[in-house]
């Protein structure tokens, strides 16, 4: 039921870099979202788009709708998108594009660059920074071991009620601890960063063995301040580890979380 099938090639754009800093050498080892198109740069003025050719039979309007429903396809392409940007990351500031920005010709890519001169400012703001991710999890058992008082032994109504009360106290204590720990962690990490985002938490069913997620943060950190950021993280670790909190540092990432222009 596809509308009209398209043929020919389009240009998939991964992100934008300053034309002067960028070299296509950066992408020599990176495979793009489609094997047929090598990753290259399409420049206009001060800006260059990181792009590769894609067949419209796969990435055209009708085809991509179809392909997006194929999770294996999607995972492969999303990972390719990320890999290309990571290759660029080490060598130049870059503005990552959201997945699936496709143009019908390189002329259209150049036109896009001309029409978005503010990308130059975004690049300037990002220069010398990296995005780091910090997730924090609470090991609930650990927390309860530390904060629970002795279980009331014995049978009978009174012991039962006391146990109930204790469970409720423990749940309250955990809830307020989680809030306080998340707030303080985010505040400390933010103060060691240029910019910060607290993203939605992943739910316990899926974080599974990792514990209850209490922080899913992204931080824009100056490269020369990275050591300080890690110190702040270590300080949090020593402070909250005894309560059962574990931190996970990821990155450096392309600065996905810090390129949003108001929309």
């Amino acid at each position: 039921m596809a509308p009209t099938a398209e043929s020919g090639n389009g240009w998939y754009v991964y992100g934008v870099v300053p034309a002067e800093a960028a070299s296509r050498e950066l992408f020599a080892a990176a495979r793009g979202v489609h094997a047929s198109g090598a990753v290259t740069l399409v420049a206009d003025g001060d800006l260059a788009a990181i792009a590769s050719g894609v067949p419209l039979t796969e990435f055209g309007e009708a085809a991509i709708e179809e392909n997006l429903r194929d999770e294996a396809w999607l995972e492969e392409k999303v990972r390719a998108h990320e890999t290309v940007l990571e290759a660029a990351l080490a060598g130049t500031p870059l503005v990552p594009f959201r997945f699936g920005t496709i143009f019908r010709s390189d002329d259209h890519v150049r036109k896009m660059l001309r029409e978005n001169p503010h990308l130059t400012d975004v690049l300037e703001r990002l220069r010398g920074t990296v995005e780091l991710g910090v997730k924090a999890y609470l090991d609930v058992d650990e927390f309860e071991r530390r904060h629970g008082d002795e279980a009331e032994a014995g049978e009978g109504g009174r012991a039962y009620l006391l146990r109930k009360q204790r469970d409720r106290r423990l749940a309250d204590a955990r809830a307020s601890f989680v809030n306080a720990c998340a707030e303080e962690s985010h505040a400390r990490l933010s103060s060691a960063a240029e910019d910060a985002r607290a993203n939605p938490l992943h739910r316990p069913e899926v974080t599974g063995g990792a514990g209850e997620m209490l922080l899913n943060g992204a931080y824009l950190v100056r490269v020369d301040a990275e050591a300080g950021f890690k110190d702040a993280l270590s300080a949090l670790e020593s402070r909250f580890a005894p309560d059962g909190v574990r931190y996970e540092l990821t990155g450096p990432w392309p600065p996905y979380n810090f390129v949003e222009v108001e929309r």
Binding site: L26, I64, E82, A90, P96, F97, R98, V206, L249, P252
Partner: protein
């Protein structure tokens, strides 16, 4: 098919030691949901992004490997939270995408075979 060039070696390496492959959830969260939105000629519009995130969620929801893959991030998405509104929206999205099997209405009967 190019050689694994070491072209980035001369740049200051800011990674925390050898970098393990990123968790899919972290990559999806960023590549699909963050990053700058620029209108392309063939743009995946927001509706489609929503649709595909929901579909990914459905696809992995029943799979045991959902956990180890860590595919969950949309669970925290305000858009995707909240019971019945989601259900009906989901139905509309699926219907819009022509996922219902032929006979109109997009009504979910049993998922026979």
């Amino acid at each position: 098919m190019s050689t694994p060039a070491q072209s980035t070696g001369r740049f200051p390496q800011t990674t925390m030691g050898g970098r393990p492959p990123a968790q899919l959830a972290d990559v999806l969260e960023r590549v699909l949901d963050k990053g700058i939105v620029i209108a392309g000629d063939i743009q995946i519009n927001l509706l489609d992004i929503e649709l595909l995130t929901i579909r990914l969620r459905l696809l992995v929801a029943s799979a045991d490997k959902a956990r180890e893959m860590g595919i969950d991030w949309w669970e925290g998405d305000p858009f995707l939270r909240g019971g019945t509104a989601l259900e009906s929206r989901l139905k509309r999205l699926e219907a819009a995408a022509g996922l219902e099997s032929g006979n109109g209405k997009g009504e979910e009967e049993e998922k026979g075979g």
